[in-house]
């Protein structure tokens, strides 16, 4: 193979499956052996976590106070597209310590393998070791400029820049893991020029999966200060958007469920830093 040739897909990225296939598959498994690769993961909780993910595709919960929300959004997208593939891949990662998905091969570090299963005070993620394993694996594998100064996992790094996801990294992850074309508008610092944020978003939502990159410091204030850092920190997967007069109602997936938020058009423009329009790749003969 010539040196410049693109790496062949590890697993067919166009593979899709249904929720029922995933449920039928995972519900037949009644127990798992402990994994030598993931010593702190309890097999019973791991299996229960996979069953929760299969039965409830909204369930991925990236944890309270972590920087895992980008990985949570990707997981939700994978669960909608290929839940059976997701479950089989996590079972392989658990039992063999490495696995492939889409165009990525995951071989997580020893530090990450020791950390999975040990989280506390992260909400229900505390008892979801399969998701702990998966988010840690994604953060360990995909690197962006925000991760330059902290590339190796230490205890507690799920809350630090080690786990951060910048906008370009998120779009790269979608392209690598899912069979999607991604039309990305926006950046980490400058809002997208769309000619009308609401109009653009509502139009694009009709034809694909839409991920919004939001400034959560404005959306979900943590400090009562006049000057707020204009840096987005949150990924949500939009489900619905509508407008009555100047009141915009958005329904989106984030943190293990759906959220309905009402804002005005000025506020929408202020919080949106990235709009990723993801559409399935068309097969050419």
């Amino acid at each position: 193979m010539p040196a410049f040739a693109r790496k062949a897909p590890v697993v067919d990225p166009s593979a899709t499956s249904t929720q029922q296939q995933a449920i039928d598959f995972i519900d037949k498994i009644t127990s798992l052996e402990p994994s030598v690769h993931w010593p702190n993961i309890k097999p019973k909780l791991f299996l229960e976590n996979l069953k929760v993910n299969a039965h409830n595709q909204l369930s991925p919960y990236p944890g309270r106070g972590t920087n895992f929300c980008g990985y949570g959004a990707i997981t939700y997208m994978i669960l909608r597209e290929d839940p059976l593939g997701y479950i089989k891949m996590l079972l392989k990662l658990y039992s063999e310590g490495k696995a492939d998905y889409g165009r990525s091969s995951f071989d997580p570090s020893q530090e990450v393998k020791l950390a999975a299963g040990t989280f506390h005070f992260k909400g229900i993620l505390d008892i979801h070791p399969a998701e702990q394993m998966w988010y840690l694996t994604l953060a360990d594998h995909f690197k962006g400029y925000l991760n330059i100064f902290n590339r190796r996992y230490d205890q507690g790094d799920e809350d630090t820049f080690w786990a951060s996801v910048n906008y370009a990294k998120f779009n790269r992850m979608v392209r690598k893991l899912l069979n999607y074309d991604v039309e990305a508008k926006g950046s980490d610092l400058i809002r997208p020029h769309t000619g009308g944020t609401y109009e653009y978003i509502s139009e694009k939502l009709k034809t694909g999966v839409l991920v919004l990159y939001l400034n959560n410091r404005i959306l979900h204030k943590k400090k009562l200060e006049k000057i707020k850092l204009a840096v987005p920190t949150h990924f949500v997967v939009l489900q619905d958007i509508s407008r009555v007069d100047d009141t915009i109602t958005m329904v989106y997936w984030d943190y293990g469920g759906k959220t309905l938020l009402q804002i005005n058009s000025h506020f929408l423009h202020k919080i949106v830093f990235g709009i990723s329009h993801c559409t399935k790749k068309v097969a050419h003969d």
């Binding site: 106070g65 008892i127 507690g156 809350d159 943590k222 009562l224």
Partner: protein
């Protein structure tokens, strides 16, 4: 010249030390000074939250806008509404809240400059536990140049474990500090802890 520089450095050090000590003292003092109201906020939120899960925050410095998050099985609703506005009351009616009870809670929170009250799930030995977290933006003294401006109080349902310095410990591994949102918490009593944070949630 050197001795003058040493004096200035010593003075700066003493001032910094005073401020770092006073911040901790203020918080435990604050709790005891306002214990009745704080406990009323905790109890009234606990009762209302059992009827219909929600969290309540204030998103402006003047405490005129309440951010109400209503949590249902299928959807979480977030509304920013004026304190005592008709819109707030209509929303509370619509979702079958105890309107009078929530408005009383709002008044208690505004009176104490309480920025957020929330129910917090955590797990011990795979069993779900909850605590109530209350954030306060106090008026008056806080360390100069400090970014930490909020007092965070946690009300646990069960007595907790602490080390000899009064720091909250992880029950399962008694020597490991238990951090909540990345912060180490200090003991006020067996069930109530505090920290000082740069963020109220």
């Amino acid at each position: 010249m050197i001795s003058q520089a040493a004096k200035i450095l010593s003075a700066v050090g003493i001032v910094m030390l005073l401020f770092s000590c006073s911040a901790k003292k203020i918080t435990s003092d604050f709790y005891y000074e306002h214990q009745t109201v704080l406990e009323e906020i905790e109890q009234s939120y606990k009762k209302l939250n059992e009827q219909r899960p929600f969290s309540l925050a204030f998103t402006d410095k003047d405490f005129r806008t309440a951010s109400l998050e209503i949590i249902t099985d299928t959807l979480s609703y977030i509304y920013d509404l004026g304190v005592h506005s008709q819109a707030l009351n209509d929303t509370l009616h619509k979702y079958h809240f105890n309107v009078e009870g929530v408005n009383h809670l709002v008044d208690l929170m505004v009176g104490l400059r309480c920025t957020w009250v929330n129910n917090f799930d955590y797990y011990v030995d795979e069993r779900k536990r909850t605590l109530i977290l209350i954030s306060i933006k106090p008026v008056g003294l806080h360390p100069i140049l400090s970014y930490k401006k909020y007092y965070i109080l946690t009300f646990f349902s069960q007595p907790q474990h602490f080390d000899e310095k009064g720091r909250l410990l992880d029950k399962r591994r008694l020597r490991r500090l238990r951090k909540i949102n990345g912060e180490v918490f200090q003991r006020i009593n067996d069930k109530v802890c505090y920290t000082i944070s740069g963020q109220f949630r």
